[in-house]
Symmetry: C2
Subunit: 235 residues, 2 copies
DNA sequence: GGTGAACATTGACATTGGTCAAGCTTTCTG
DNA sequence: CAGAAAGCTTGACCAATGTCAATGTTCACC
C-alpha cells in the first residue's frame, strides 16, 4: 500500500519514510457502487484517495434536490476541507462506479504541511486548481446550453486524441453525468440527441463516436472562455 | 500603509518586520468604478487587497457573455491564483464601486509561504474557504429559483440582525447583483418583485426593508443545504 | 437646476429546461 | 434463462428564464 500512496500525485515528492509513516495509518478498501463514504450528517476525519473507480461529491438540500460539484477518479483525493478537526463535511461523497479507495486520517496531512512547506505548497496548489475548476464550472453552467455542456464533457476525454474518429466511453451512468453537468436525466437525453444532430457524432449506449472532432469543438467551445484543449494550466 | 496591510486578515499573525518588508513593494491606489484591474489578456504578477469599495471577478467568453464568480470587498484579496509567475489570469477583475486597493507582487507571498508554514496554512485555509463558497454557489445556481437566490443574497447582509425590521442597502448596482447571482438584469427585476409578493419585503431603489425576517428565511432557505445564518464554518 | 448617460423596469414573446408518466433496454441475480 | 431492478428514452405539457424593445428613473456633472 505504501507504493500506492507514494504514487499519488500529491505525495510524489515526499521522502520514503514520511510516506511509510502515513501508510501505517492508512486503510485500503474496495467500495461498491452506491456506497456513501460520508455525508454532511456524519463527522469525518479522513481524506480519501481514489485508486480506481469513480466517486461523486454532492450537496443535498432538505427538499432532496442535489447538486453534484465534482466526480473524481484515480489520482484525485477529497475530504481535505478543514484539514484537521472532526466537523461534518459540508458535502457528501458517494461511489458511482466500484472503486478502490485509501483513507487516511486528516491530521497526518496537517502535520506534514506544517513540517514541510514544499508539501504545503503542493496542497495549496491542488486546492487552487480545484477552485479554478469550480470557477470554470460556474461559467459553464451560466453561459453554455445543455448540449454544449455535454460536448465540453466529452471533449475532456479527447485531450490526447489528435486524429479524428475518436471513441469515448462514458465512465459512469448517464444520470450521474447529467447531474454532474447540472441538468436532469431527461434533459441530458434530449440534449445528447441534439448534439448528435448538430455535430454528427454517434451514440451507442455508453459509447460515443466522434467522427469530426473539430465540428464538436466549434459547436461547444464557442460558449466558453477557454478553448480546446482546455487543460488546467500547469501551476 | 503598513498598518493597513497588517490589518488584512491573512496578514494579522505576521511579525511587524515581515509586513514592513511587504509594504516596501506595495502600492495603494484609489480606483474608479469601471476600472479593469486585470483581464485574461494581460499578464499579471500582483495580488490585490480591497480596503474599501467592491470589485467583481468574472470570466468572459468569446461571444461576450460573462459569468461573475465573486464580488469582493474590504478584507478580501484576489489574484493569488498560481501564486508566482506571470501567466495571465484565467479571469478578470473590474471595480464596480469606487475602491481603495493595495497591490503587492505575488512572489512575496510565495516566499513567505515557504518560509513560514503557519502563514502557508492560513493561505491554504483561505483558498479552502473560497472553494467551499464556489461549491455553495454551484448548489445555489442548481437548486434555487431566481427569487430564492436574491433572498439568499439579501440574507448575507442580515447576519447580525436579530430583531425583525431590517434595512439592507444593496452595495452595488442591481445589474452586478444580477450577474453575481447568475441571471439577467430583467430577470432580477421581476424576481425581486416576486420576492416582494412572497415575503412581504419592501424595495425602494437600492434599499430593501425586511419586516419579517423569518418569512424570508423560510422562503429562501428551503432550497439550500445549509440554513440561516449560514456563515462559513470557522476553519 | 437642467441635461444626458447610466441604470432599472416593463411588456411581449421565444426558448430552454423541468416535470410527470409511460414504455423501453440493459444488467444483475437467482 | 427468467424475472426483476435499474437505467434510459420519449411524449406531452408547463414553468422559468432569456431576449428585444420601449419607457421610466436616478444621478452626476456642467
Amino acid at each position: 500500500m505504501q507504493s500506492q500512496l507514494h504514487a499519488q500525485p500529491i505525495f510524489r515528492a515526499l521522502k520514503d519514510d514520511v510516506v511509510a509513516g502515513f501508510a501505517e495509518y492508512a486503510a485500503q478498501k474496495r467500495e461498491k457502487k452506491g456506497t456513501i463514504l460520508f455525508s454532511p450528517e456524519t463527522p469525518n476525519e479522513k481524506i480519501y484517495f481514489v485508486l480506481s473507480g469513480w466517486v461523486k461529491l454532492f450537496r443535498e438540500t432538505m427538499s432532496g434536490d442535489e447538486a453534484v460539484t465534482d466526480v473524481m477518479t484515480s489520482g484525485n483525493f477529497f475530504g481535505e476541507i478543514g484539514l484537521s478537526g472532526h466537523d461534518p463535511m459540508p458535502y457528501g461523497a458517494e461511489v458511482v462506479e466500484d472503486a478502490d479507495i485509501i483513507s487516511l486520517p486528516r491530521f497526518l496531512l496537517a502535520e506534514e504541511i506544517m513540517r514541510n512547506s514544499l508539501f504545503g505548497m503542493a496542497v495549496l496548489q491542488n486546492m487552487t486548481r480545484q477552485r479554478m475548476q469550480r470557477d470554470m464550472e460556474i461559467e459553464h453552467r451560466t453561459v453554455q446550453s445543455a448540449p454544449q455542456r455535454i460536448g465540453c464533457f466529452l471533449l475532456k476525454f479527447c485531450r490526447d486524441a489528435k486524429t479524428s474518429p475518436v471513441r469515448v466511453h462514458l465512465p459512469f451512468d448517464k444520470t450521474v453525468v447529467a447531474h454532474r453537468l447540472g441538468m436532469q436525466p431527461e434533459t441530458f437525453s434530449r440534449a445528447l440527441a441534439k448534439l448528435r444532430e448538430e455535430t454528427g457524432l454517434r451514440v451507442q449506449g455508453a459509447t460515443v463516436e466522434i467522427d469530426n472532432l473539430q465540428r464538436l469543438v466549434d459547436y461547444t467551445c464557442s460558449a466558453c472562455s477557454s478553448s480546446f484543449p482546455c487543460e488546467d494550466k500547469k501551476l
